[in-house]
Symmetry: C2
Subunit: 451 residues, 2 copies
């Protein structure tokens, strides 16, 4: 245990109780655990700077953490040291509706930001679910159900304040909507998973709430039909705002968990945003395409309450599947592929699970070619290996068609093994950047970039 | 002059004729010139690798160049060495309409790509004008008239092949629409202006051609009214696809140059994309807002030919203003500010020009808060200083409101002086990245990052 000097933080900001250490010692859907020496709760960039300078001198590993809803082991302090919990830095510092931007601390949940900006008619359109904080979302370049229309977290980062590995507080970016000045360091720190520094402030771009929206639930006989419909819908150019797949097993788990009564079928959920006339035309075209693609129906949800209930249910999928498998371990992971490769990729993954006799849940932001598989298994070596093999083959197939080992979860610790295969000669550049920005290797070691 | 060894390139790929050296020794709207020792015309990544390895051993500066339409001195070989002209690498290697992507060599003009993909109903929506090549556009993170709807070049870069300063050919990115794997090196090399390596291949994302489009020409009595309308239009959330301002003097120059007859007034050009019903509703809302904002009219252009003529004319503005000022020097530069700061920024810049007695032309992608000033001056020290002072004050005012010294032109050599002020402590990180990726400093020295 590293002794913290007096004056570094107040005593209530340094927590070493077993429950809190354990809570910070594990992630979701990631079985390896490791306790930090202490959990630190800084309340300002200046305090983060002090922590980092102290750690840099003594080469103490630092693992930043927000909501701790990562699914790939990002926040497990595999080398010990301090967990730096940023959830007390949860102030919305500024909202400028007239400039379509907000400035927040990293511990602000995206839902809290949207609560605050809603009455100004603007919102932050990235919704990864859980209680994700903006710091965590930037650190993993999170996306969610609306990425097909609005893009990913990185597309909304105008500026960052970061504490780099030498303890210096630096501002990156600006408040203009676009810039060609300097290297795009905001993009470099976005998705860096805390391995280049700790984010202490974020300036995000906001967008106007759509004047009108309409949602639809479109059931299909199987994954092949559903994903072929999605591919055709995207290729038709209809500007869909959400395009999600969820399989019958997941719908059943959600119904049980959330008290909903959605028909338990392979389902594509859609949403359209725009003005009323445009949205109606988009939905009509989608309905036509669905009918031709073998859909079993097309249930529209025009009312806001109905749509919200639908997306709330969708966002509960992960916790619903966990509740559906008490006492089991899970691997919940994602890949993304070029859109035309989606049907084959999804079908192959589901077939593989069936061959292995594994209970898998399929959900996906399929409009982006991005899908998730949740596999639950007993504490049994053979079952675990089987689950790992299935996800391994899913990743290898994604890479073979020019896809990526993770569309939105991030690398964490689980996907480290794919970095060489995915990036090849580019991995060496990433290592050089890591080394030059974090020479002592204290920033979230063992994540993102293999040593 | 550095002697090239036999076998490095064919003799017709090494040009040292005075005319070609001079052509590569100057940029547009940038008065400093400097001759390269030779202009090299590689035809493959492998040849670029050979050039870079040769140059790295001897510390010979390399200045990559495409269409050479840069306005800020990017391509002027200020330290001599070789100009690496990539315009012979102009093959469209692959178009995959079903995956919405294309793979091109850096010398492909964006217009040639759009010619090729048009019949598949897809396009690359970034249009900086001139005969810009995709390599140059990636290197400056170019944008253009449709950025307000579609974003900037960097938003469309899925993958790059680059030759780094050690001569290694590396692939960055992948073919999925989104990824959270690894550091975002595509974003780092996008906008790096050739200072981190030479781009030899680009995988770009394409989007569906809109089903319907409608344009409008909206004249205003002055810049204040016009920019306040733009600010309100953007704040209203109408998804405008293009939103350009052009002043009366520029319209006059375009009319004379292009044979058009647009009324010579301060004008906002708009375009809307979507389905027919949606576009009509968007245009109607914009017309209503324009009337309330003091517009002198609202001329719609529904026909494709009429719209194309309008945007062709807009894209000729730069050459029209040059033709309007024979024998004069020019400074054509851009800034971007948060959208609410746009009216004050534009008005202050125009007032400043008037006070200094300078003939300035205003055009701008104002929907992004991005505008350009073209100032022409005689070969006279006092006039030149006056033009430089005006642009200097325009940049300082942009930085004071959280804007950027360049929204889309890039830093080149002209904006180097603002890097410290704009980036502060972040500049040190950029320098460290530059040093670790280009330790000998051979990649486009004297650009982007001050030494």
């Amino acid at each position: 245990m590293h002794e913290l000097p007096a004056g570094l933080l107040r005593s209530d900001q340094i927590v070493t109780t077993q429950a809190v250490l354990e809570q910070h010692g594990r992630g979701e859907s990631f079985s390896e655990t490791a306790l930090p020496d202490a959990v630190l709760f800084p309340e300002s960039a200046e305090e983060v700077g002090r922590i980092v300078r102290f750690a840099a001198e003594r080469r103490i590993p630092l693992t930043p953490v927000g909501a701790n809803s990562s699914l790939e082991g990002h926040t497990v302090p595999l080398s010990g040291g301090f967990s730096v919990d940023l959830t007390r830095m949860d102030r919305i510092l500024e909202v400028r509706p007239e400039d379509f931007l907000a400035v927040v601390e990293p511990g602000v949940p995206y839902r809290a930001l949207n609560e605050r900006t809603r009455h100004d008619g603007i919102f932050f359109p990235i919704d990864p679910g859980a209680h994700a904080t903006l710091g965590g979302m930037v650190s993993t370049n999170a996306s969610g159900t609306m990425a097909v229309r609005y893009g990913v977290t990185g597309d909304y980062v105008l500026g960052l304040q970061v504490v780099t590995a030498d303890g210096t507080v630096r501002r990156l970016g600006n408040r203009a909507r676009k810039s060609s000045a300097g290297y795009d360091l905001c993009a470099l720190f976005t998705g860096a998973e805390g391995t280049l520094g700790i984010i202490t402030e974020i300036t995000v771009r906001l967008v106007g709430l759509p004047e009108a929206a309409s949602a639809a639930r479109v059931p299909f006989p199987d994954a092949g039909h559903a994903t072929r419909f999605v591919t055709r819908l995207i290729q038709s150019g209809v500007p869909v705002a959400r395009c999600e797949i969820i399989d019958a097993r997941s719908v059943r788990a959600v119904n049980a968990y959330a008290g909903t009564d959605y028909p338990e079928q392979m389902t594509v959920f859609l949403e359209f945003h725009g003005n009323p006339a445009g949205v109606a035309a988009d939905a009509a075209l989608a309905e036509d395409l669905a009918a031709h693609a073998g859909a079993l129906g097309f249930e529209s949800a025009e009312q806001a309450a109905e749509r919200e209930r639908l997306w709330e249910a969708r966002h509960k999928t992960f916790y619903a599947t966990v509740a559906d498998n008490p006492g089991k371990h899970s691997i919940v992971t994602d890949v993304a592929v070029p859109i035309a490769s989606l049907p084959a990729a999804v079908t192959a993954a589901l077939d593989d699970c069936e061959r292995e006799g594994l209970a898998a849940y399929l959900v996906g932001h399929v409009g982006d070619g991005n899908f998730h598989l949740a596999i639950f298994f007993a504490d049994d070596d053979a079952e675990r290996r089987s689950a790992e093999d299935v996800t391994h083959r899913m990743v290898r197939r994604a890479l073979a068609v020019g896809g990526t080992c993770t569309g939105e979860h991030g690398v964490g610790a689980r996907k480290l093994r794919y970095m060489q295969e995915e990036h090849g000669e580019a991995l060496d550049l990433m290592r050089r950047i890591k080394r030059t920005l974090d020479p002592a290797g204290i920033m979230n070691p063992g994540k993102k970039i293999p040593a």
